[in-house]
Symmetry: C2
């Protein structure tokens, strides 16, 4: 086993060769998004110092920000106790992580309005998505 | 469709009927753990006001803290833009989320020591696991 990939081999990749990844903002500790990585994506993330995910829908590497300019500068990478989940501590360029133009992808809050339970969008759109993706 | 389950139906459950869940501490915003829920687990979490996950290894509902006493009091539930990831904002009883006796499960940090890249356990064990699980 090459020492260059020992740290990658420690991760318990799932049946599809993927690992769940949480992106958390340095400083505020806000959870900005959740995505997946394969070995190549994580190796490329470390090499580049920017988040590179595996797009399950497009079935290819996805350098976050490649279209929007909203790159994620990686400051720290963590692994959980079971070695099957990765946490990235990042600086979010443009302070926008969500394709809807919001700061975080987790903008829908479960609301109980007198027994009427539903998800409410509670965080503002900071930038029109039409102006993010030209 | 019953209005009582409308909010559950909005979630895009995966092929196994599960959704990934991130547990984040209210206040510090620390990410404490990552687990999975099925419909029953999420419904039970809302009903109880405490985190109930689906244990994929034991194939049953897992009321976090049932053995350790380290329950997670749920203060807010969020859903992401794709509606396939849940974020819990919780108060962690005992301030310990990890079965290793640490505050957070994400205690291993990727470290580059002159080209020797590996995961290092950087957070302290706050309580001996033998004393957590009697």
């Amino acid at each position: 086993m090459s020492t260059k990939t020992k740290w990658l081999n420690k991760i318990k990749w799932d049946e599809q060769g993927l690992v769940p990844v949480i992106a958390q903002q340095v400083g505020s500790n806000d959870v900005l998004m959740f995505a997946w990585m394969n070995r190549d994506a994580l190796a490329r993330t470390v090499e580049l110092g920017q988040a590179v995910y595996w797009s399950r829908s497009r079935k290819k590497l996805w350098h976050k920000g490649e279209e929007s300019g909203h790159f994620q500068i990686v400051r720290e990478i963590r692994l959980d106790c079971d070695e099957d989940v990765v946490l990235l501590k990042i600086e979010q360029v443009g302070d926008l992580a969500c394709h809807t133009g919001r700061h975080s992808c987790f903008f829908q809050k479960l609301d109980d309005n007198d027994g009427e339970v539903d998800w409410l969008a509670v965080d503002p759109v900071l930038k029109n998505p039409d102006h993010i993706y030209k």
